[in-house]
Amino acid sequence: MRNRQATNLLFELSQLGRRAARYPACDVPARSLAEMLPTELLAEQSPDLPELTEPDVIRHFTNLSTLNMSVDTHFYPLGSCTMKYNPKRHERLASLPGLIDLHPYQDEASQQGMLAILFELQEMLGEIAGLPAVSLQPAAGAHGEMTALLTAAAYFQDRGEQRTKVLFPQSAHGTNPASAAIAGFECVQLKGRADGFVDLDELRDNLDDKTAVFMITNPNTLGLFERDIAKIAHLLHDVGGLVYIDGANMNAILGITRPGDFGGDMMHYNVHKTFTGPHGSGGPGAGPIAVRDFLANYLPGPIVSRTQSGGADRFQLTTPPKSIGRVRSQFGNVGILLRGYLYLRTLGADGLKAVSEQAVLNANYLRAKLADVLPVPHGERCMHEFVASAEKSKSERGITALDIAKRLLDFGYYAPTVYFPQIVQEALMIEPTETESQQTLDAFADTIRTILNESSEFLHNAPHDTPISRPDEVKAGRQLVLRWKR
């Protein structure tokens, strides 16, 4: 049961002289610090951290945790984020000795099992993408985007081509242009058609020999498959450019179609979305990329490669010959990659395809259940998510998308993504994922109906039953308080 009083900060709970962790006495001949370290570099005192007992700490954080909604406790239909269930077997297995306690700089002979896993994961991700060369290094989706764009830049440079522009649709995730800027590209935003698809004429008009990459999310942010994707890819390839597939929405197409088969040259995965890495309140993620073979030589290292000696596989870390270099220290977010590996090994090919089928069925089912009250302006059916509009309820009853989102929290549902993409007025982006039952979806749809019958005034003040009511974001922005002070 939630302890609503327990929101004191660690620093307010602190009592002089308390402590939790205790360390053994020094068992080597002790010297004074001044003997070991130059006195002018020493701190005058230890940092002013809170002083607490272990029970203090555990109660504090356990109580804090109860102020969160999470996938394990609530339906979390946050569009574009693929909040699916994270199997518990992953936790036990990823914590096995020999995996959790491996240091990244161990000798390769003592990490062959780990390298075998990572090699097999590279192979599986290459197969699912239809793009054979994989780097597991990027730490998140945005990191993967940037890595792929740097890879493309290196490829063009090597060919002596001066390509400066990266194109993307208006509805692209904001990280696309931000990543392109870091990779040194000029960003060109395309307006697209009123129905959210790419406007082929507009695209054609913007393509030339300066075009490096077109970045596109497919299925797009409206949850619709870009029908013209093959034509788009042709247009790009005709001018010597490359197509980047933002893999945020891969959960819709696993084993059904592959980015490499519909014209993509590069893509990233979000292991934390599609392949059940836990979202961890915001991270960690893992954003491996898959690219065509002609880009393989430019990928960041290290990559796991396999050789055979005496009939046995040997795995080693290698760096591609024309590598862009590292995009981070160490190998990658292995703890998350490992969970992706376990997920794929649990499912196999049929199981993986069934994931997308169920995800798409669930989304279409919920879409249909809500169609009369929250219509979807674009498309007759959707893929793994849909973007409904509260325009009707706003004009008729004054109930906005934000009101619905906030009120859902009272009923024990996390809120859908709202006001994105901007192409839909009063947008509610809903992604149920494959791990929700029909009963959950029915109950959710009933709740939406209940909410839409409530008074708008009541809804403007929602949520009413959460640990806090709506926060004052203007105050937070104007009077920045980013740390506690005594």
Partner: protein
């Protein structure tokens, strides 16, 4: 369900994907495994590795076998933290938001800096984000000065990121393990966006950050300190050394080794640069009833609003790892942190003394160090590491593992080996390592 949707088959749901683009065969993936089979398979693979529970670890190079109290795992494993996402809906995310606010406060206390973000991916990319931030603040893109004693993988990452930004990277050589501040000063000019000092540095040695940062300030460049969080139990804080931005790998703060990540990128800075910071920030405010609460703030720096002009492309924090660090530091408190730092320092000094007495081994650099040091083996460092392994100890990494160091130090790099000693090691283990290498 199909009936509600108005289709006859699941296949029909995928009508919007043109037939010719569909995969007409099953994916070539290994067959599915039940939980029992999966566990057996993983145990088999795990048993082919030897981790820190199999050999006594003296491995370092930025990632260390510091002890992780059980309470850290207990909290980080809570479903409500573990399976929540970025706290967009503050009303249903106060647990994470308050924990991140506490994290930000702890990092400020630790470093002496004014503001910390809610974390970045890991140490190397955090350092690069600091450099990009310094470029925005100083409006200089021409040059970055970095000490040769900064982690070679961090320097490699920096090169990758800034390659297309027209920025020159000047590496100041550190042939004796540390940089001479006057050598660094010579490189800092009015084109320099930032000076990067790692202290304690990659070789474990202590630099002279204050002298270097003073010159940087005079010449309008920002000072970036790459620090070891544990060292701040005994060493002066980056802010007091004059750092403008302090970054670190936070793995030492309660995060398991797990072969390279996920780890924790720490970034803190002076108040005046807050609008140029990358990454998520949590701020305090009140709700409609005046109750204190926490929200994501300064969102206008981020990509969904500012797009290509965002302060960074990073759009998450390492929430779960920031939580681990928060719990870890709460458990240690000021005395615990001091003890971990001092024990690591005492034990590494004892180990250095013991290893220096082994014939064929000597300390590569004479200067002061904190918890790790470089031993030089006349002959081949890899052979020393191999002998240690045979006896059940892991030492390293060998410095020739890093291409940058092999270039900068030539064949000397083949003779050098890092040795790190944390509070978890015992006198017995150190003595046994030295004995094993004597044979």
């Amino acid at each position: 369900m199909l009936k509600t949707v108005g289709v006859k088959s699941v296949d029909e749901l995928f009508d919007q994907i043109p037939r010719e683009l569909r995969l007409d065969r099953p994916l070539h993936l290994p067959p599915p495994l039940s939980e029992i089979e999966l566990e057996a398979h993983l145990r088999d693979l795990a048993s082919q590795n030897v981790g820190a529970s199999g050999r006594v670890s003296f491995l370092g190079g930025g990632i260390y076998d510091h002890f992780v109290p059980a309470a850290v795992d207990a909290i980080a494993g809570r479903s409500e933290f573990y399976t929540a996402y970025t706290p967009y809906q503050a009303e249903a995310s106060q647990g994470s938001l308050q924990a991140f606010f506490e994290y930000q406060t702890l990092i400020c206390e630790l470093t002496g800096m004014d503001v910390s973000n809610a974390s970045l991916y890991e140490g190397a990319s955090a350092m690069v984000e600091a450099v990009l931030m310094a470029m925005r603040v100083t409006q200089r893109r021409g040059k970055v000065v970095v000490l040769g004693s900064v982690h070679p993988e961090y320097r490699d990452t920096l090169t990758t990121y800034v390659r297309h930004l027209g920025c020159e990277i000047i590496v100041v050589p550190t042939p004796h393990g540390t940089a001479d501040p006057s050598d660094v000063a010579r490189q800092i000019d009015d084109r320099t966006a930032a000076v990067i000092v790692q202290h304690p540095n990659f070789f474990g040695c202590l630099e002279s950050p204050r002298e270097i940062f003073t010159v940087a300030k005079q010449r309008g460049a920002l000072s970036i300190s790459v620090f070891d969080p544990i060292s701040l139990g005994v060493l002066r804080r980056p802010a007091e050394d004059g750092a403008d931005i302090a970054v670190a790998e936070g793995q030492s703060l309660g995060i398991p080794l797990q072969y390279g990540g996920p780890y924790l990128g720490i970034l803190a800075c002076r108040q005046e640069f807050v609008r140029q910071m990358p990454g998520r920030l949590v701020g305090e405010t009140v709700d409609r009833h005046g109750k204190r609460c926490f929200v994501l703030t300064l969102g206008t720096r981020e990509q969904h609003i500012r797009r290509e002009r965002a302060t960074s492309n990073v759009c998450t924090n390492q929430g779960l790892l920031a939580l681990r660090a928060t719990v870890y530091l709460s458990l240690l408190g000021p005395r615990g942190l001091h003890e971990v730092a001092e024990l690591s320092c005492q034990k590494s000094h004892y180990a250095a003394e013991q290893l220096a007495e082994v014939s064929g081994l000597e300390l590569a650099f004479g200067g002061p160090f904190f918890k790790e040091f470089v031993v030089r083996s006349r002959g081949n460092a890899a052979e020393v590491a191999r002998r240690a392994r045979t006896a059940g100890f892991d030492i390293g990494p060998a410095l020739n593992r890093f291409p940058a160091l092999a270039v900068e130090f030539g064949s000397s790099a083949n003779e050098w080996l890092l040795v790190a000693v944390t509070e978890s090691r015992t006198k017995n283990q150190i003595d046994n390592l030295a004995n094993a290498l004597r044979k």
